[in-house]
């Protein structure tokens, strides 16, 4: 259910800049449009500006320049309208420890201007397996449970836009599965979601589009499938009828890798290259007298694409790590 390109925009970011008081430039001229109902994965190394970007849209960080519209409203001139429709699950587990789970979630709903709705909160708590903890004090909960409470708080006011800032960092498998289920359900309801994650397979599994951010700049925004296709290196594994001890000299130019049992050779190629070399490889193999029983192709993962892009961008100038710590410090 990828949001089509002609779907109206939910978030429009134009020329967004952020320089912190310390002088650290966290966002450089960001332009990004996020369509209604889509799931955008925001990938980037630590300190790339992911959290700053999210905080700015949510109103926690003051932009230094540029403009952000959410649902057609300007975040600076009409914050009452934009904030009502935005939910945020922060990266850090920042939560008042002395209140009960139920009160914490009820508080959030009220804070965002919605009348009390115990049935709705019950439903959210049940979805997040928090129902039997509803009367417990937050500080008595485990880290994973606290994170569930943060998610429940963000969902309590029925947001149309949901920011998930590394929602599954350091959580158990159970919660990750629950998270994915919730994301699926919200996708069906048409909620626009922006997800930052370090688990690239997560972005690969649930995002419609991927934006890669590094050192405050958006390097790339692309439909996930297109990205994987256009940038992906593929590999082809050829199963041989009889084992080989070494790759024949005539095939050396292809850089084949031979498996330990000698029954499989792997050939890596780039779909972007003018010639993939597949046809000539097959011809040369047949000329070398090798018969092929089966062929498999595999695609490089988003992670590999990501690492390649960021490495290309991150020269050996300043390390992004040090200022990043300042940038992502909670307000």
């Amino acid at each position: 259910m990828t949001a089509a390109a002609d779907t109206p925009a939910m978030i429009e970011i134009a020329g967004l800049n952020k320089t912190y008081d310390s002088g650290f430039v966290a966002l450089r001229n960001i332009d990004l449009t996020i369509r209604k109902g889509e799931i955008l994965a925001l990938l980037g190394p630590n300190g790339a500006g992911k959290t700053t970007l999210i905080s700015t849209i949510c109103g926690i960080t003051v932009p230094s320049g540029g403009r952000v519209l959410v649902g057609g409203h300007d975040i600076e001139t009409q914050p009452g309208k934009t904030r009502r429709i935005i939910g945020l699950v922060p990266q850090e587990i920042n939560i008042e420890p002395f209140q009960t789970v139920w009160n914490a979630v009820r508080f959030s709903r009220g804070l965002f201007g919605l009348p009390p709705d115990p049935a709705r909160i019950e439903e959210i708590l049940k979805t997040l397996s928090l129902w039997d903890k509803k009367d417990e004090v937050v500080k008595a909960l485990s880290g994973g449970m606290k994170r569930r409470v943060l998610i429940a708080k963000a969902l309590s006011h029925e947001p149309q836009v949901l920011f998930l800032d590394e929602p599954t960092a350091g959580v158990d498998v159970e919660l990750r599965k629950d998270m994915w289920r919730i994301v699926d359900a919200l996708r069906d309801e048409g909620v626009t979601m922006i997800l930052t994650t370090h688990y690239i397979e997560e972005a690969e599994a649930i995002a419609d589009r991927v934006a890669i951010i590094s050192k405050g700049r958006i390097l790339l925004v692309e439909d996930k499938d297109t990205l994987m296709q256009s940038m992906g290196k593929r590999s082809m594994s050829l199963e041989l009828a009889s084992p080989l001890e070494t790759v024949p000299q005539s095939l050396e130019a292809y850089g084949l890798e031979l498996s330990a049992n000698g029954l499989e050779v792997t050939y890596a190629f780039d779909t972007r290259a003018e010639r993939t070399g597949i046809a000539s490889l097959l011809r040369d193999m047949s000329e070398a007298g090798l018969s092929v029983r089966d062929i498999k192709t595999a695609q490089s993962s988003l992670e590999e694409i990501f690492v390649e892009l960021v490495e290309r961008d991150t020269g050996d100038d300043e390390s992004p790590e040090a200022p990043a710590m300042r940038a992502e410090e909670p307000a």
Partner: protein
């Protein structure tokens, strides 16, 4: 349009916190006030002559209520906003559709309510120790409410200004307590030599205590109109400061 749900949510949340900590919220101010009565009223008061025709024990009641209400308002309101800032849970408030109006009504309203309750409890407690008649009950109630609110506003600003818990304590300790003690809580400034009387007039707390004592006994150190003007100016100044803080995000947003 005011987000009334948010005001209600914040107010209820803050009041719930007060009830969770009811022991420390209520018992300690009541206990310390009772000690003041025992020491100043009963033990020392007997050897002090009547002031403006009022026994010393009764005379200190308005000052004691003011002392407690001011320090409680400041500590309640400053803690209410400083704690989420310290925890980081303030992200939610900053990203919520609330502005200065909702925040002031919710946080400051709750802090003021708490100190008002404490003030009334101390007033009730004091009648156990000394005979007390309130000359202008309506004016007394109005003044009490406004002062609770004004100092909660002030405390709220301190809570945002403070960058750690030490700073949170400094203003009440180093500024408010001396001003209250030197502001005529336990004496009439007319008892001071003329020079110190003049100096006292620069102490804003003098105007508050004077007006509050007037509502009890009908006598004031400074004209009541001047007191009311001073309280109004202080309140307006605090509201303007909070409005500015929320407009710029000073010490709240990065």
């Amino acid at each position: 349009m005011i987000n009334m749900q948010a005001v209600r949510a914040i107010y209820a949340f803050e009041m719930a916190r007060a009830f969770r900590t009811a022991m420390q919220s209520l018992i300690s101010p009541v206990l310390s006030t009772s000690l003041y009565f025992v020491v100043f009223g009963a033990a020392i008061g007997g050897s002090i002559e009547r002031i403006d025709g009022v026994s010393y024990g009764s005379f200190i009641v308005p000052g004691l209520i003011m002392l407690t209400v001011m320090t409680q308002s400041i500590s309640n309101a400053s803690f209410a906003i400083h704690f989420p800032k310290f925890l980081g849970s303030i992200y939610e408030l900053l990203s919520a559709p609330v502005g200065v109006t909702e925040v002031v009504l919710g946080y400051v309203g709750a802090a003021a309510t708490k100190s008002l309750i404490i003030g009334l409890i101390i007033l009730a407690t004091s009648t156990l120790f000394v005979p007390l008649e309130v000359a202008h009950p309506v004016a007394m109630a109005v003044l009490l409410v406004i002062i609770c609110f004004a100092f909660s506003l002030f405390g709220f600003i301190i809570g945002i200004w403070a960058q750690n818990f030490e700073q949170l304590q400094i203003v009440p300790l180093l500024i408010i307590t001396p001003l209250v003690f030197l502001g005529g809580s336990f004496y009439s400034i007319s008892m001071l030599p003329p020079v110190w009387q003049a100096v006292s007039l620069f102490n804003p707390v003098v105007y508050l205590i004077s007006a509050f004592r007037w509502s009890f006994f009908g006598a004031a150190d400074v004209p009541i109109g001047l007191s009311v003007a001073a309280i109004a100016a202080f309140t307006a100044l605090c509201i303007a400061a909070i409005w500015w803080i929320f407009k710029t995000g000073w010490r709240l947003k990065t």
